[in-house]
């Protein structure tokens, strides 16, 4: 009973933290996915220099832990004259990580568009730009969508690392409640449950969506 009253008391603060987590996640995706698209096209460019530089950028972005990226942007960039608050730093760092990861997801999606579709479009006399716009991108995106959704769930999880920058997101709120009440287990468990409330149904949604998209293959 005491646990419940505690939880009810803590919930508003935790929910406001969750709202910050969701905000930085959505903004990181809104910034990161379009850049991911550009990187996906550049990493299959005809020009070898463009292609290799892009691949290096993507591999660095994927190889660097998100925590390093976050701290580098927040604690490192001021040295280069760029001072950001913790919210902006989180959005930018997670946006960069998102662009590197999603570029590979999108590239795989674009590659999975059946060759025959493109040949058919070509045979119909469609211009190259129109083929990309009307055939390649919509279909490639559709194929990539479940993986992108899975990645979005992952980024929400990663946003918890922003507590190291002092961003008042869900984990920060839970930790500071824990520090003042010494009820770490109770409050951190509630925080974990709040993450699960989004990640678990999100996972089911992705699974369902994947099944629906591959129905014709069954």
């Amino acid at each position: 009973m005491e646990l419940l009253t505690d939880w009810v008391e803590w919930l508003p603060r935790l929910l406001s933290g969750l709202w910050v987590s969701v905000q930085v996640t959505v903004l990181a995706l809104v910034i990161g996915i379009p850049i991911g698209f550009v990187l996906a096209f550049m990493s299959s460019a005809k020009n070898a220099i463009v292609r290799w530089l892009t691949i290096i950028v993507v591999e660095v972005g994927r190889g660097m832990p998100a925590l390093v990226m976050l701290q580098m942007v927040y604690f490192g960039l001021p040295e280069a004259g760029v001072v950001l608050d913790s919210f902006a730093a989180t959005v930018i760092a997670l946006g960069l990580t998102t662009s590197a990861y999603t570029s590979e997801i999108i590239r795989a999606g674009l590659r999975a568009v059946p060759e025959g579709e493109l040949e058919a479009a070509d045979a119909l006399g469609l211009k190259r730009a129109d083929i990309v716009r009307f055939i390649l991108i919509p279909q490639g995106f559709r194929i990539a969508l479940p993986t992108l959704m899975g990645f979005a769930i992952l980024i929400l999880q990663v946003s918890s690392l922003a507590f190291t920058l002092g961003l008042p997101e869900l984990l920060s709120q839970a930790y500071s409640i824990g520090a003042s009440t010494f009820e770490y287990l109770e409050v951190l468990t509630l925080a974990g449950i709040l993450y699960l409330v989004i990640t678990v149904p999100g996972g089911w949604l992705v699974e369902n969506f994947e099944k629906r998209l591959s129905k014709h293959l069954a």
Partner: protein
């Protein structure tokens, strides 16, 4: 140079956390993968719930629950074992799903043939199904190992003196913000690249000679 040497000296701790957690996870994942295929619906459901929780709670939150939560109320433990157990349990959730994918890739006929030959279920799994499932699962396991290597950076938050811990300490004490993080990033990439190459090589090697 100073930063570089300090960060380099923390590499063994990062590798210890990564490989110990991976090994722990690889073992605990076995019963979890088994539970997902149980004859009893309730066992399947509970196992699925456990796996969803392990995969759905952010790693840093999970490690905090173990270290600050369980650590303050039930058992006191050092950061290092808490880190390994926390990342190990998360790994178990992910690896169980990877094993399950491997098991699903084994043709139903293999189970039927084993039954027809009168093999015991132990022999069926250790000699017939296991090796085939494992072959399919290996690339996924290596991919998980790479992401675990990067995730191991989060245990710096509970005070394990691995790469990230030494890096942020160095950044704070020297007042140089950018350089330590660039070095740390480069070290992680240098550690991850051979694993990525291994994964690609294994994928090629293990699919060789298979018609499908």
């Amino acid at each position: 140079m100073d930063h570089f040497l300090k960060i380099l000296s923390a590499v063994p701790v990062t590798l210890l956390v990564t490989f110990a957690a991976f090994a722990l996870g690889a073992v605990i994942a076995l019963p979890l993968a088994g539970g997902r295929r149980s004859r009893f619906a309730i066992v399947r459901l509970v196992t699925k719930g456990v796996i969803d929780i392990l995969r759905g709670v952010p790693p840093v939150v999970f490690v905090f629950i173990l270290f600050f939560g369980v650590g303050s109320d039930l058992i006191r433990w050092e950061p290092l074992p808490a880190a390994i157990v926390g990342l190990g349990l998360i790994s178990a959730g992910h690896l169980a799903e990877i094993y399950r994918g491997g098991l699903m890739a084994v043709h139903q006929g293999q189970f039927e043939a084993s039954a027809a030959l009168g093999l015991t279920s132990t022999t069926t799994f250790s000699r017939v199904i296991g090796p085939q499932a494992f072959r399919v699962a290996i690339p996924g396991m290596v991919t998980w190992l790479i992401s675990l290597l990067k995730d191991s950076s989060i245990v710096s938050t509970i005070g394990v003196a691995e790469i990230m811990f030494v890096t942020s300490q160095g950044a704070r004490s020297s007042g140089e913000g950018l350089l330590p993080f660039v070095i740390a990033g480069a070290v992680y990439i240098a550690l991850g690249t051979p694993l990525a190459a291994l994964s690609r090589w294994l994928e090629k090697k293990l699919s060789f000679g298979r018609r499908a």
